[in-house]
């Protein structure tokens, strides 16, 4: 009985846990005024490496702009990460790109 639960626990651990890989980071010039922080995230789920386009990141800049209408966003930290939800085969993974910057109006 204990062995059965141990196997279930091990299986659940393998299936639920995720491994995160940081693919790239970039930073632009940082402004003097840093009171208002704006952020935008775009992501795409991929089943077993079958991914046929990379359009998910295209609207990131527009998202950030919509959070700072009529202003300037600078000091943007862009982070691109890959999260593998079933680490053994990376059966389901998520490509996530996050941009955070300072809005000045």
């Amino acid at each position: 009985m204990k062995l059965k639960w141990l196997m279930v626990f091990t299986f659940m651990t393998v299936m639920i846990t995720g491994c995160t890989y940081l693919e790239s980071v970039s930073l632009t010039n940082i402004p003097e005024e840093r009171s208002k922080v704006v952020s935008a995230t775009r992501e795409k789920g991929i089943i077993f490496y079958f991914n046929f386009d990379t359009d998910f990141a295209d609207e990131l800049s527009a998202d950030l702009r919509s959070h700072c209408e009529g202003g300037v966003v600078s000091g943007i930290l862009t982070k691109f990460e890959n999260i593998c939800y079933v680490p053994v085969f990376c059966f389901y993974s998520v490509n996530r790109v996050t941009a955070t910057g300072y809005c000045n109006r």
Partner: protein, 138 residues
């Protein structure tokens, strides 16, 4: 027979897309500027020697794998994607951006380094999108 032919065609014609890097530049949304979007893509064919060697080995010859291993010794260091023949394929980007926005300011420049992967070969792509800002005429 038809099943295998279809399978082989699907394998060779479909491509998987990989993203290596995403970068977003400063964004200017002030009302004094009029903005127009643009997109630029540059690409070069990459070649996966390791995969070519594996295919050749599967067909019964080891020479391809040996050549791949030998060349692999000279291609060290960090990289994204497969080796390409023309390493300067992305150098024209500045010129192309200038062409798209000759007299204005460039804002929200987003650059994506991506790869389209096919068996043995790949498309090594750099995609740049942004907005060209021009002063509004009052």
């Amino acid at each position: 027979m038809r099943f295998w032919l279809t399978l082989v065609l699907i394998m060779f014609l479909s491509s998987c897309a990989y993203v290596y890097q995403v970068q977003v530049g400063n964004i200017d949304d002030r009302e004094s500027f009029e903005s127009s979007p643009f997109e630029i893509k540059v690409s070069e064919t990459g070649f996966n020697l390791e995969e070519a060697g594996e295919i050749e080995a599967a067909l019964g010859s080891d020479s391809g794998k040996e050549v791949g291993d030998l060349l692999g010794m000279f291609q060290m260091g960090p990289r994204t994607g497969n080796p390409v023949y023309n390493e300067r394929y992305a150098e024209d980007l500045l010129f192309l951006i200038k062409q798209k926005c000759p007299n204005g300011r460039v804002s929200g420049l987003t650059s994506v380094r991506e790869q389209r992967r096919y068996p043995v070969i790949s498309g090594e792509i750099v995609k740049v999108t942004g907005h060209c800002l021009r002063k509004r005429s009052s």
